[in-house]
């Protein structure tokens, strides 16, 4: 016996041709929109494609700085006149122009839709996309690219700034005096991320700056798990070393539950904040940056804005764009984690 089945719906005949569709009034946009690093950066104006700033340091302290009694400056037994600004250096970065376009056909603009697929929503979505692009560029390992005919200018990302060796790209290499100390970069994929290594990272930065800075660890999920879950333990076992069995599982759990709380700790290195990075904007989840916002900046050539273009008959259209670059005023005061054994 043949049934009139719902799949008999080849128009214009069949029992199923009159069945209604069901489309729930629900659209999920499952993508993190946060831009925690971009949000941390102090903003300033940019007025040129090559944004430049200077950095300086102090010479090595001299315990034997002693003057022979009665000796004049520049005489035998006295000290030579010195140029104090020999290490003053110029760092720079290139502006990057971010843009995302949007358009909606006239038909779609007037149709009733589950998800409002109209020009305003398209514009807002494009703004979110550009913000994520900016965050991704900041957190990237990109080298700077000088814009030329057919070549888009790009900024140097944090991954390239925080390096113990001079990088080669289209802006000035960081002078050796201002390179990030090797101890502040954890990149050995064969070694576990132990307490000793993490401690060494913080110490390496302290030895450069000599003060407790405003330190913020913007971490991928695996780093956060290792540093928070793997290290933190009941207070009585403070002398224990990094042992998995002794660790306590925290809110990050198995890494599937990522929250956007800023966790604040007070300890030997002052107040340290841990923030979850936007996982989509890191090269991978073993990446983390130890940042001091006062050593960073975002030079903005053009703040994020929307421009509507002429509707030439097809429908409204426009673009969102922003222009800026990352300023790193002291690579030697920053750190990063790029790889470790898990």
């Amino acid at each position: 016996m043949a049934f009139d089945a719902s799949y008999n719906s080849t128009p214009p005949t069949g029992s199923g041709v009159g069945n209604r569709e069901q489309l729930l009034d629900l659209t999920t946009v499952l993508a993190p929109r946060q831009a925690p690093v971009y949000g941390l950066l102090p903003k300033q104006a940019a007025t040129a494609d090559l944004v430049e700033w200077t950095v300086d340091n102090l010479r090595a302290p001299d315990a034997d700085n002693a003057v022979v009694e009665g000796a004049d400056v520049g005489t035998t037994g006295g000290d030579d006149l010195k140029a104090q600004f020999g290490s003053l250096s110029r760092l720079n970065n290139r502006l990057q122009h971010f843009r995302d376009t949007f358009n909606v056909s006239k038909k779609q603009e007037i149709f009733d839709s589950v998800t409002p697929v109209r020009i305003q929503e398209a514009e807002e979505k494009a703004a979110s996309q550009v913000l994520r692009d900016i965050e991704k560029a900041i957190c990237s390992d990109n080298g700077a690219v000088s814009g030329a005919a057919g070549v888009a200018g790009k900024l140097r990302g944090l991954g390239a700034w925080i390096s113990s060796t001079a990088t080669s790209d289209d802006v000035a290499a960081v002078p050796s005096d201002f390179l990030t100390p090797a101890s502040a970069i954890l990149a050995d994929g064969a070694e576990e991320l132990t307490e000793a290594r993490f401690n060494g990272m913080l110490t390496g930065i302290f030895e450069e700056t000599g003060e407790n800075q405003d330190m913020v660890l913007v971490a991928g999920t695996q780093v956060r798990n290792s540093i928070i879950d793997g290290f933190t333990r009941v207070q009585t076992s403070g002398s224990a070393t990094h042992i998995h069995g002794n660790s306590t599982t925290f809110n990050q759990g198995d890494g599937t539950d990522v929250n956007y709380n800023v966790e604040i700790f007070q300890g030997p290195y002052g107040i340290v904040k841990i923030i979850s990075a936007n996982p989509k904007c890191l090269p991978d989840q073993k990446r983390a940056y130890l940042l001091d916002p006062s050593l960073l900046g975002w030079s903005e050539g053009m703040s994020m804005g929307s421009t509507m273009l002429e509707d030439q008959g097809g429908g409204p259209r426009g673009y969102i764009d922003a222009m800026g670059t990352l300023c790193v005023k002291g690579p030697n005061g920053l750190g990063k984690i790029t790889d470790f054994a898990v």
């Binding site: 929109r33 946060q34 831009a35 925690p36 949000g39 941390l40 950066l41 102090p42 903003k43 300033q44 104006a45 007025t47 807002e124 703004a127 979110s128 913000l131 307490e195 993490f198 401690n199 913080l202 800075q213 405003d214 928070i228 290290f231 933190t232 333990r233 009941v234 207070q235 403070g238 224990a240 306590t248 925290f250 809110n251 929250n259 956007y260 709380n261 800023v262 966790e263 604040i264 700790f265 007070q266 300890g267 030997p268 290195y269 002052g270 107040i271 340290v272 904040k273 841990i274 923030i275 979850s276 916002p293 006062s294 903005e300 053009m302 703040s303 994020m304």
Partner: protein, 101 residues
């Protein structure tokens, strides 16, 4: 004619997009949810300490953290006096910190 943003505009634009999100989520229901998340997070740190970072003195939802960043300036959280006040008067009474500063 220059179309460079003024300092004030830059300051506003810095958080414009983030604020847009905040407007969408900054309602009593979501605020409560964020506070609950922060409380839950803080409760995990009670009676424990981090061997390197030390004791936990606050869990602040990211939206509120950036709002404070805007209001009080970048680096506000490194000011001991400010953090002491925040910890003692706001975070501890609301269960959003595991230890007293």
């Amino acid at each position: 004619m220059s179309n460079l943003p003024t300092e004030d505009e830059l300051f506003e634009n810095q958080f414009r997009v983030l604020n847009k999100q905040m407007e969408a989520t900054f309602n009593p229901k979501m605020e409560q949810k964020r506070i609950q998340g922060a409380r839950k997070s803080a409760s995990f740190y009670k009676g424990k300490e981090h061997p390197i970072l030390g004791k936990h003195i606050g869990s602040i939802p990211m939206n509120e953290y950036y709002a404070m960043n805007k209001k009080y300036g970048v680096g506000f959280s490194n000011d001991d006096e400010f953090m002491k006040y925040l910890n003692n008067k706001v975070l501890m009474p609301n269960g959003m910190a595991a230890n007293k500063f």
